[in-house]
């Protein structure tokens, strides 16, 4: 089976070569991976496996760093670094803070 991410050689049109700035949250997501890797709490390969198993629909719908968040969350729960309940409560609190 060919993974939906494994697109080498497929006809996908022009490559978008323009540069773009990263939002602050994207930089935080990137920095978080560096810190987690240094602490031995995740590997690049765990991150990649998570992205490669998001499902083709989610992979297409999510932006680059949204994929990272989805994959990282799953990997950290799988390793027992965080729990699903902790994650859910913190996400709800953040959503409330945003709405306020």
């Amino acid at each position: 089976m060919r993974g939906y991410h494994d697109i080498g050689g497929l006809p996908l049109g022009e490559v978008e070569r323009s540069q773009h700035d990263h939002a602050f949250w994207e930089k935080r997501v990137d920095a978080m991976l560096v810190l987690l890797s240094r602490k031995g709490l995740i590997t690049t390969d765990e991150l990649r496996l998570g992205i490669e198993t998001l499902g083709a629909d989610a992979y297409e719908r999510l932006s680059y760093y949204e994929r990272w968040i989805a994959s990282k969350s799953r990997a950290l729960v799988a390793r027992g670094v965080i729990t699903t309940d902790e994650l859910g409560r913190r996400m709800a609190a953040a959503a409330r803070a945003d709405a306020a």
Partner: protein
């Protein structure tokens, strides 16, 4: 580390399609190339992906392929090549 191949050896990339985290690109499976160099030995990413240690470390080779043998109808130069780094367990003698 005992490396099975030496620079100059002809190798075929295995035509295998298991699920999981695979670092061997789909487009190069089943193709034949030449060992360009041994890069070293590294924990197996297919195992690291599941939180295991990936040991023993697997020899990683840089393998050189002719572009006109990788891409059907390739229009570039006849001498064009592509180098891909591939773990030993994906290679057979050719």
């Amino acid at each position: 580390m005992s490396a099975r191949f030496r620079p100059g050896d002809r190798v075929a990339v295995r035509s295998a399609y298991p699920p999981g985290h695979i670092r061997t690109p789909h487009y190069i499976r089943g193709k034949t190339g030449v060992i360009e160099r041994l890069c070293g030995a590294f924990p197996n990413p297919e195992e690291l992906a599941y939180g295991r240690n990936g040991l023993p470390a697997q020899p990683l080779y840089r393998v050189r392929f002719r572009q006109d043998q990788v891409w059907p109808g390739y229009l570039g130069g006849a001498g064009d090549t592509i180098d891909i780094e591939i773990y030993e367990h994906w290679l057979d003698p050719a």
